[in-house]
Amino acid sequence: MTTRIRVGWRASVGLTGDVLTALPVPLSFPLLVALYYGESPLPFIAAIAVSLALGVAFRSVKDPEVDLGPREAFLAVAMIWLLVAVVGAIPFVAAGVGTVAHPVNAMFESMSGLTTTGATVLVDFSLHSRSVMMWRQVIQWLGGLGILILATAVLSELGVGGAQLMETESQTQDVNKLTPKISRTAQLIWGIYFGLTGLAVVVYFLLGLAVDPRMDLYNAVAHAFTSVATAGFSPEPLSVGAFHPLIQWAVVPFMVIGSTSFILIYFAINGEPMRLLRNEEFHFYLGAMGTLASVVALGLFLDPSISFGAEATVRHAVFNVASIVTTTGYASTDYVLWAPAAKHMLFMAMFIGGMVGSTTCSIKSLRWLVALKSFRRNLYTAIHPEAVRPVRITGKPVDEGAIRDIYAYLLLSIVIFFLLTVVIVVDAERADLRVTEFEALGAAATTFLNIGPAFGEAGPYGTFASFPMSTRAVMIVLMWIGRIEIIPVLVLFTKAFWTS
């Protein structure tokens, strides 16, 4: 007995092929960097060749008769994120230098990049060529662009990136109707992304000229790529902490904007700033970030083992809290050395996330806001069972179905996070490694929620290479699942997806 496959997989494979054939364009950027610095361009030529070959092969499968429906799109999203990461790993393997020469490590680095996580398995940054280091930055920028496409425009109907949530928000209910044509909307959103990246290059470079020669054009471009994308890789082993305090301050707004709804930014640019300023999710996002930063700053002031001085204390608190809430993953100092209280605050910050419709990862402010309001409603209806009280965000009622989905998503995220923690602890014990429970919790959250650094060995100035190979393999899968918000990957493992 044969079961008929009811997914138009040819369409999904074809779309993946389209993306792979376009990949040589971003790959040529590090290629040019390699030529400029007189380094070997071969790693990129190899990646371009593989990408083109796979792309052409995939495109040949395409069947123009098959439409790209929701199922095909789910499959395509999962495949694209996986295969682009595979192609992205090729330059690391081909360069053959350091830890990332190993295929699993290369895949970890590439997936961490594409999912805008920012967790690294590099050990010695100085071993690597400038072009390979730039490729890490470019792939993160691509990851940010990719998630914006999913979250705001072309594939928003899949609900990835919280896009279906945006429709429940009054301020962005017409998210698909910025313009009548969806491709035009996508162009507008990308325009903002390109513009912000360009602005970051200019700001970083000019500040570099003024105060810090280490922030040269190379570093300005490299960090611009990963701040608006809320991604977090840095070619510097000390991350943004390597630069002058003024530059550290300048990075904060770009991370914060990168985690703000691009739809609302679009409205703000077009003369409707109140839509952003009155948005409750925006208030929640800024409020959570501000509160945590204040508490961390207070903790640092009171900690006798730390003596930063007033400006530096505030800066480190604001920078690192912003970096984690926006899910960027830069660091301005090694917060592994902080007291447990401050570190636990940062751990808590990992679960918040920025706004829907941005490049942010993690659970996202809107989900928490809806869940909290819904919980408050439950307290009220416990006393007045007949009361009908819609949950409102910025005045607009949220659909009850969406609330159930949000509860389910929160629960699923927490369950996966706990399972991953257990895997990390068990696997470390098997390999006879000393990983504390807190470090395991941190590492699980930071990879699954796509933030970047964690604590202990995996801290901002540490490396994930210290975990066993098997743990890193699991992390690769969970970064992939976490970035595209679980559902598109999990549905692929249901029978109904393929047959009914």
């Binding site: 007045h384 007949e386 009361a387 009908v388 009280r389 819609p390 409102r392 005045g395 009622p397």
Partner: protein, 445 residues
């Protein structure tokens, strides 16, 4: 005046009865029996036929009519009637509608459907209920600028805390303006230092919310305050509009609706109302939710029987004031006789509004005060208006006409008038003016 009334139901008949003594009235109805019957009841000409058609309208001489009143039970029939009338002549057209959507459409695009004045039954009824609830102390209340602005006249009693204050002491509200004070039959244009005495009648213009607050200052005994419990039973359109208008006045009413879907819709549209989904005839529920302690209960259910039952129940539980919506005019007195405080009939309210309108003015939204000493009118400023581009202080300087600007609405939002406020074309200006100078002001705008 030659008036054509289309629709001889309760509303049409009532209007015809009040206009027939002084005007030439023609009534059109589709039902020949009804038309025949009316001919003997009232001194009017009746025509049987479809009032939307040009043939029947020509027979009723709509081409030379001064006014056409379309008041059948069907919204679209009324709109089409007005549309047809506009093609035949230039009679002033009045349409009765149920749907607030049509009203909204008409307000947003003045002149839509060929209607010059639209009366929305459900909204009007709700406005009446809210006025009865909220401003029992007011002598006169009139909405302007689609309800964004309210004019109210209060008599200041000797016990009122406002008596003895100056205008600037009494006017504690940002969006409220004192436009006139009548003392011993004389109009005084109020200034900041004008004293308000017992027996004076004060006319204020402002947002419904600020007028409500002012009423609380003037008559704290009779005016409900924000803490008062108001319960609306029944999520009909009237119930919904009542809750909405109460919300606008800063009250937080409770609304009880049985149907889950309707309750959800209402809860979504009414952020400051507590909507409860339950059967309002369940006494156990009513006492659990302390409805017996409510200050005011409004019943706006689907049928008179249900409203009667709930009203009697509420009265028995000990509610202070019970206001019932009664669909059949015959039952109004029955309701009031068995102890319901106020019974409001939507048809009567509609007929009264249309009749009042035919008396007062057909040109603008207008309110006449104190035996026609002064009028409050709403003017829409055109491009060439002498008002446009000038500040209020300049305008007062330039003319010797006695007028006070009470409120301005710009793009459906209230602008509080100050001396330096500059008027723009498209603004709606609500002002009080000496009756003798009405035409002068109207020509300036």
């Amino acid at each position: 005046m030659h008036v054509v009334i289309v629709g001889a139901g309760e509303v049409g008949t009532s209007i015809a009865a009040s206009l027939a003594p002084d005007h030439e009235v023609v009534v059109v109805d589709v039902d020949p029996d009804r038309a025949e019957q009316l001919k003997y009841e009232l001194d009017v000409l009746t025509i049987a036929g479809d009032g939307t058609t040009a043939g029947i309208q020509t027979a009723a001489d709509v081409g030379d009519a001064d006014m056409v009143i379309a008041c059948t039970d069907d919204d679209r029939t009324n709109l089409v009637t007005c549309g047809t009338a506009k093609t035949l002549g230039d009679a002033f057209t009045i349409a009765r509608v149920k749907s607030t959507e049509y009203l909204r459409t008409w307000e947003d695009t003045r002149g839509a459907f060929g209607v010059d004045f639209m009366v929305c039954t459900d909204l009007l009824t709700a406005q009446n209920i809210v006025r009865v609830i909220g401003l029992p102390a007011a002598i006169d209340v009139d909405p302007f600028a689609s309800g964004l602005v309210q004019m109210a006249e209060f008599e200041i009693s000797a016990e009122s805390p406002v008596a003895g204050q100056t205008v600037s002491e009494a006017d504690r509200f940002e969006s409220l303006t004192f436009v006139g004070i009548f003392r011993n039959g004389e109009m005084i244009i109020p200034r900041g230092d004008t004293d308000i005495g017992a027996g004076d009648r004060a006319v204020v213009i402002g947002s419904p919310e600020s007028v409500q607050s002012f009423a609380n200052d003037v008559a704290p005994e009779t005016t409900p305050d924000r803490a008062d419990e108001i319960v609306i039973v029944g999520g009909s359109e009237i119930g919904y509009q009542t809750a909405r208008l109460l919300e606008e006045r800063d009250f937080t009413p409770r609304l009880i609706e049985r149907d889950p879907g309707r309750a959800r819709t209402l809860a979504e549209d009414l952020p400051n109302t507590v909507v409860m989904e339950h059967d309002a005839t369940d006494t156990e529920f009513l006492s659990r939710e302390h409805v017996d302690e409510a200050d005011i209960v409004v019943t706006a259910l689907g049928s008179d029987e249900q409203n009667l039952l709930v009203s009697v129940l509420a009265k028995r539980l000990g509610v202070d004031r019970v206001i019932a919506v009664v669909d059949s005019p015959d039952y109004v007195t029955v309701f009031e006789e068995i102890g319901i405080d106020i019974a409001i009939n939507p048809r009567t309210v509609t007929a009264e509004e249309i009749t009042r309108f035919t008396y007062e003015s057909i040109a603008e939204n207008i309110a006449v005060l104190e035996n026609d000493q002064a009028e409050v009118l709403e003017l829409e400023l055109t491009e060439g208006s002498r008002f446009a581009g000038r500040s209020i202080a300049e305008l007062v300087e330039e003319t010797d006409v006695r007028f006070v600007i009470g409120a301005i609405t710009r793009d459906h939002a209230l602008v509080t008038p100050r001396g330096d406020t500059v008027l723009e074309p498209g603004d709606h200006v609500v002002l009080l003016v000496d009756s003798d100078s009405v035409s002068e002001i109207a020509s300036m705008a």
